[in-house]
């Protein structure tokens, strides 16, 4: 004779289909062993309920303590905050790069302007140098061309006059007392003054 222990288990759980329940009831009326199994299962179930109902539940912490220990919200907040800070930093960095690029071009422009100014100044300096050289040349030529060779000696009284001549006119440069001349020099009627006598003081002046 087939026993219905498995079906009894399902019946106790309210999970046995209706048609099978009919078969089970029919069987239980005939089978004392299965009826005893049902009774045992019912008693055990009641016992289990009682065990868990009477269980002394003492929890270690109250919810407040658990909440205080709860790392989640903090963790999530940390990640959230990190995310926001990273986003903000990225945006700021983007702006920084943008402005830096702008500033760089401005600096480059300034540098180019200064470079141009430097070239201009160099050119001007070269021009000035050339002009100065030209002037020096002109000055040299001037002294070459001028007739500064003749010093005429005239001794109206007891003095010598040093005279420069230029294009036929006379100009007294200095007058020397005849008596102050060393012996022998009184015989000199004239002396030649070269251009170097004029250039040297001019150069020292420069």
């Amino acid at each position: 004779m087939k026993h219905y222990e498995f079906e009894i288990s399902q019946f106790m759980d309210n999970e046995l289909p209706a048609d099978e329940q009919k078969n089970l009831f029919a069987h239980l009326s005939d089978c004392g062993e299965c009826a005893r199994v049902l009774s045992d299962f019912m008693n055990i179930k009641m016992g289990i309920k009682s065990v868990y109902d009477d269980m002394n539940v003492e929890l270690k912490n109250s919810f407040a303590v658990i909440k205080a220990q709860e790392p989640v919200t903090k963790k999530r907040n940390v990640y959230k905050t990190m995310f926001y800070y990273t986003a903000a930093a990225s945006v700021l960095f983007g702006f920084f790069l943008f402005f830096l690029e702008g500033n760089q071009s401005a600096l480059e422009k300034k540098y180019l302007i200064l470079l141009q100014e430097r070239f201009n100044l160099q050119n001007k300096y070269t021009i000035v140098l050339n002009e100065k050289q030209q002037l020096t040349e002109m000055n040299k030529n001037y002294f070459d061309k001028t007739n500064l060779q003749t010093v005429k000696y005239k001794a109206p009284k007891n003095s010598y006059r040093i005279i420069t001549t230029e294009k036929g006119s006379y100009k007294t440069v200095a007058s020397i007392n005849k008596k102050r001349l060393p012996p022998g020099f009184a015989q000199v009627s004239y002396t030649k003054i070269t251009k170097d006598d004029f250039l040297i003081p001019q150069m020292i002046g420069n």
């Binding site: 222990e5 498995f6 288990s9 399902q10 759980d13 999970e15 199994v37 045992d40 299962f41 008693n43 055990i44 179930k45 016992g47 289990i48 309920k49 009682s50 065990v51 868990y52 009477d54 269980m55 002394n56 539940v57 003492e58 929890l59 270690k60 912490n61 919810f63 658990i66 909440k67 220990q69 709860e70 790392p71 989640v72 919200t73 963790k75 999530r76």
Partner: protein, 165 residues
């Protein structure tokens, strides 16, 4: 039998704790069979719930979700080496109930003799009153498997409590 609230009702964490912490404790105890470990489990479960609250897809009730977390925690705990090495006989659990007829073994002792899985299924069905489908959701077993394992657990209990008289 406990009334099962199948309609979804969202509760805040303090209210969840207040309402379900004893059930989580008992469920954890049914698996761990250790009073203090079950106490720790309750705390860990609610912390983990708070951690994973954002990933809760509301496909099941909050209590089911808590039980799933508790189950995961308890089985991980059992697998850990420290749990098995530190496990000692727990005298803190003192049931007041003994079966009517004289037995050498109380129901509490018999429950402790059951495997973790059988004990868990017995708790979910006979005490919490979950349906096979709900138990299947919590334990990730098929409905057929739940049915068979529950039957075996009952037979095992019957064997401990009645047949060995």
């Amino acid at each position: 039998m406990n009334k099962i609230n199948l309609t979804y009702e969202e509760l805040s964490l303090p209210k969840l704790y207040e309402k379900f912490s004893p059930d989580i404790f008992k469920y954890s105890f049914s698996i761990l069979k250790h009073y203090e470990e079950a106490q720790d489990a309750v705390q860990e479960v609610f912390v983990k719930y708070a951690e994973s609250e954002h990933s809760f897809k509301k496909e099941c009730s909050q209590k089911t979700w808590l039980l799933i977390i508790a189950r995961s925690y308890c089985y991980n705990k059992i697998k850990s080496k420290s749990f098995n090495s530190e496990r000692i006989e727990d005298d803190a659990f003192e049931p007041s109930y003994t079966i009517d007829y004289e037995t050498k073994m109380t129901i509490r002792d018999a429950l402790l003799q059951l495997s973790e899985e059988h004990n868990e299924l017995i708790y979910l069905k006979d005490y919490s009153g979950y349906s096979y489908k709900e138990i299947s959701e919590i334990t990730k077993l098929s409905v057929e498997n739940v049915k068979i394992k529950l039957f075996r657990a009952r037979m095992q209990l019957k064997k401990y409590l009645i047949d060995e008289l």
